[in-house]
């Protein structure tokens, strides 16, 4: 949908645009229709200072002139001033911004430096100096404002041009030998027009504020010609006697400024399609009791039962995780495996009640130490996070606050969870960092996150997670963002920590190597469901779900050398387009008609091995 079509769908934008268009119409017509108003020194002096009424809709001023007529005629000088400033801003700002963004290099540096210099100028002071040279010259004043405000638009144009320049069709146009000017006007300008209109609209509001302000100071428009700012000034001089006189010109200014800023905002929002405001984090706990709710048997530290998670979407809620059941015993390592988009990370986040955006648990339960976390209030969850369950992120660098030294961040966790003193926390933080195999932990503690490598940042993240001595560590793809050699270090560290601390680990991964290295048990997820659950050995020896089998076959670690690596045809169906039957059936080489008919339940296939496949018997014999 084109940008203007999107804009037309916003009623607020249309209303503002209609109002502004009407103002332009009045500016053209009113001085022609009422030619005497401009030179009228006084009206009916016996009818001065009238309140609004039928003969004078907005009343009369101290000289008996009709306020409405003056307001309508004064519209022209106000808009002409805004137009003068706006044209200057556009003529200077757009070409300079395009040049700086498109050419880069020296052009960019010079233009940016000039802009910086202009931002340090006291604009109003300069304009008053200019007006003292050209007394009453609105053109001089508004053009000066335009020159001072142009760098603002220039910066906006520049930063909008930078990404456009990198796009393929621009590159293609360049390669086909089109001139830079042609590309800029024909392709780049059309792409950034929304941003330019939005910013220009806000600058027009600023110009309006300035024009009326200068008119208020009697620096622009000579009496008796009416202007909005001048009318406020006239009213202010008799403020104590006739306080209502400033109401209508003030309202005219305010409403016009409002229309310009709202229009600008609406244009910006329409230009940045797909941009939506972040939603504040507000966790919604499940209200209803779980069906057959009872704390699970002893020995299981974490028991996730029939967990469902949904996100609000355009057409109702979108389910992304459905009927997920698994558990973790004290001191064991469980892996959740699957391709991207299967709901692994969402499941991990749901356990500690930290779903991104407006996601929420909409079914099932998460039992931990006798509490159902899916139904726990924030006050109950708080003491569990960090002290009982800790979390390690898949983006180690982004998971640490860039504003604080890493030592301080570990100390903060220690003081929260262990109630240590400042000095005690410091000593303990350095001990924790030493446990992470840092050679000089005190030096590391003094660093900021941006001074660490990804692997170091992840070890710091683990140290912070361990500050509260949790019973369960959830690691969401802890090695995905790291180099291969560093991955091995982190995995080694996790295994060692699990052994020395008897801590359970729930690790989310798509890497079978991690599973083989670390895990006691495996949960395989596909399209929001658990498809297979087993101890680690049987999964590798005899997978009982075609998805697991295919996933294992496409794993580079296990494939014979020099063989072509098989891939699973197709992609994971996204949430909302899951088939009624088996969700893997479309990509499955064992699929039969029955697979696509009804939803498949997960069932035991001997021992602790469970699978969600109708044909797992055949698969086992194959």
């Amino acid at each position: 949908m084109s940008f203007f079509r999107r804009l037309l769908r916003r009623p607020v934008a249309v209303v503002c645009f209609a109002y502004l268009a009407a103002l332009v119409g009045i500016a053209v017509v009113a001085p022609i229709a009422m030619p005497s108003v401009e030179t009228q020194n006084a009206g009916d002096l016996f009818g001065a200072n009238l309140l609004p009424g039928w003969s004078h809709l907005l009343g009369t001023d101290t000289l008996g002139r009709d306020v409405l007529a003056r307001l309508l005629v004064g519209d022209r000088v106000t808009l002409v001033g805004v137009a003068e400033a706006l044209i200057t801003v556009l003529v200077l700002g757009v070409p300079l911004g395009l040049a700086a963004g498109y050419r880069g290099g020296w052009t960019d540096r010079v233009v940016t430096w000039l802009a910086d210099l202009t931002f340090s100028l006291p604009a109003v002071v300069i304009i008053i100096v200019v007006l003292s040279v050209f007394p009453g010259s609105m053109l001089a004043g508004m053009v000066t404002f335009g020159v001072i405000a142009a760098p603002d638009l220039m910066r906006v144009v520049r930063s909008a041009t930078l990404p456009v320049r990198e796009e393929l069709y621009i590159k293609a146009a360049e390669a086909s030998g089109l001139s830079g000017t042609y590309i800029l006007t024909r392709h780049v300008l059309s792409r950034i027009s929304g941003v330019v209109i939005a910013r220009a609209s806000l600058l027009a509001a600023a110009a309006l504020g300035l024009q009326t302000g200068l008119a208020f100071l009697n620096l622009l428009v000579a009496a008796p010609a009416p202007s909005w700012g001048g009318m406020v000034a006239d009213g202010t001089s008799v403020l104590l006697l006739h306080p209502w006189l400033i109401a209508s010109p003030g309202a005219a200014i305010a409403v016009t400024m409002l229309a310009l800023s709202i229009f600008g905002d609406a244009v910006r929002d329409a230009a940045v399609e797909g941009w939506s405001p972040a939603v504040t984090r507000r966790r919604q706990a499940l209200k209803s009791a779980a069906p057959g709710a009872a704390a699970p048997a002893e020995g299981r530290l974490l028991a996730v039962e029939h967990l469902g998670v949904s996100f609000p979407g355009g057409e109702g809620d979108l389910r992304v995780v459905e009927d997920v059941t698994f558990d973790v015993a004290a001191g064991e390592i469980v892996g959740i495996v699957g391709e991207s988009g299967c709901g692994k990370s969402v499941t991990a986040a749901a356990v500690i009640g930290l779903l991104p955006g407006a996601g929420r648990i909409d079914g099932g339960s998460v039992w931990f130490a006798g509490t159902d976390l899916a139904r726990a209030r924030d006050a109950e969850l708080g003491p569990i996070r960090g002290r009982k369950i800790a979390f390690v992120s898949q983006e180690p660098m982004a998971s640490l606050d860039p504003a604080y030294r890493v030592g301080a961040q570990i100390e903060e966790a220690l003081r929260c969870h262990r109630g240590l003193s400042r000095a005690g926390a410091r000593a303990r933080a350095i001990e924790l960092l030493r446990d992470m195999h840092f050679a000089d932990p005190a030096a590391v503690a003094r660093r900021y996150p941006h001074e660490l490598s990804g692997g170091m940042a992840q070890r710091v993240g683990i140290a912070r997670a361990l500050a509260g001595e949790p019973q369960l560590l959830i690691a969401d793809e802890p090695t995905t963002a790291l180099d291969v050699t560093v991955q091995a270090e982190i995995l080694e560290l996790l295994r060692e920590l699990q052994l020395t601390r008897r801590m359970a680990v729930l690790i989310v991964t798509h890497d079978w190597g991690v599973v083989a290295d670390l895990c006691d048990r495996v949960v395989v997820m596909y399209a929001g469901q658990v498809v297979e659950r087993a101890d680690v050995r049987p999964i590798f020896d005899s997978p009982l779900h075609p998805y697991t089998e295919a996933l294992l076959a496409s794993n580079p670690h296990l494939a014979p050398e020099a063989a072509t690596l098989p891939v699973i045809p197709g992609t994971v169906p996204p949430p909302g387009s899951w088939p009624a039957g088996c969700r893997f059936s479309a990509r499955c080489r064992y699929s039969v008609a029955a697979c696509t008919e009804l939803a498949v339940a997960i069932e035991a296939a001997g021992g602790a091995h469970e699978t969600r496949c109708l044909r797992h018997d055949q698969l086992a014999r194959a």
Binding site: V129, G213, G235, M257, S393
Partner: protein, 327 residues
């Protein structure tokens, strides 16, 4: 040469680096602003001699006064004379009052500074507070904050000032309508005389800071390190104030600098509405009567204030952002 600062210190120490950079920028800025003032004012039809003597004097009398005031010299010579003295802290004399410009400005500076600093403090406290509050509450409160910000943007300060006078000085006799009481005369009177002007000037600042703070907070609150802080049991108070606000403030501070420059210009209008004897009103009267030394002097003072604001913003940024601090 021991007295020359070590180059590596200049590069490594970010505070020094910022101060050097800003001062290096201040010099051309002051030159440009003062030279522009001289050139522009000399272009003006009519000059100070005519303003002082009126139209009835003889040409000989004009010429004599021109010589006495140095107005017969070419502009660049007038400027050079001014600049030589300015470097020693002497900004010349007012053509009309014959008072030294520094003294004339010195009398009025406290008024403008009281108004300006008062408005900065109110804008920062109320604006940032509102922004944080609406970011945390979201929903209807957030929308209400957005609407309030839009209205704050749209109301012209000079009109708001006049309406405040109508309501709080005329209708309810709570505050004086106009005028300024010096702090040395009466602390209470000073505060009392500043309440309405400061509110008037702050409105725009509150609106723009509230909006910026809200957007910055929402952005930071959805970042991975805040999610990890929640996940690892850092208490809410600490997440909001220690982590989110600290990181959001880096962005708010840069906006604050631009806002401060804008508010400085706004003092001219607000002083006019409330008849405050500050630099702005002196500027307007001097500009209309071609009192070049006073206009140039005020331009220099305003520019110095902008330089000081930018320096403070840069230093605050260095203090807030460790990535700038260590390089």
């Amino acid at each position: 040469m021991a007295w020359v600062p070590d180059r590596t210190v200049l590069v490594r120490n970010p505070v020094l680096r910022v101060v050097t950079r800003r001062c290096a920028m201040a010099v051309p800025l002051l030159l440009v602003v003062s030279a522009l003032t001289f050139i522009l004012v000399s272009l003006t039809p009519g000059n100070a001699a005519e303003e002082i003597l009126g139209t009835s004097a003889t040409p000989a009398e004009y010429a004599a006064l021109d010589r006495a005031l140095g107005l017969n010299l070419p502009v660049y010579e007038q400027y050079w004379n001014w600049l030589r003295h300015a470097l020693t802290g002497d900004l010349g004399q007012s053509i009309f009052t014959s008072q030294p410009v520094t003294q004339e400005i010195g009398q009025r500076l406290p008024v403008t500074l009281s108004l300006f600093i008062g408005a900065l403090i109110v804008s920062a406290v109320v604006g940032v507070g509102l922004g944080v509050f609406s970011a945390l509450r979201g929903g209807a409160v957030g929308r209400a904050a957005d609407i309030l910000a839009l209205i704050g943007f749209s109301l012209p300060a000079f009109w708001v000032g006049a309406e405040l006078i109508v309501i709080f000085a005329v209708w309810r006799n709570w505050f004086p309508a106009t005028g300024y009481v010096s702090i040395s005369d009466s602390l209470a009177g000073w505060l009392h005389s500043l309440v309405l002007p400061v509110i008037t000037l702050s409105l725009y600042g509150i609106a723009s800071l509230a909006k910026q703070t809200r957007e910055a907070m929402l952005d930071v609150l959805s970042s991975e390190y805040i999610r990890m802080a929640w996940a690892n049991g850092i208490p809410r108070r600490s997440i909001v104030f220690r982590h989110a606000l600290r990181n959001a403030s880096m962005r708010v501070v840069t906006v604050f600098g631009l806002l401060a420059v804008g508010l400085l210009g706004g003092t001219v209008l607000v002083e006019d509405v409330f008849a405050l004897p500050g630099l702005g009103s002196l500027m307007v009267t001097s500009a209309t009567s071609h009192d070049i030394p006073v206009v140039a002097g005020i331009a220099v003072y305003f520019t110095l204030m902008v330089v000081a604001i930018n320096l403070a913003v840069d230093l605050a940024y260095v203090w807030l952002n460790p990535r700038v601090r260590i390089q």
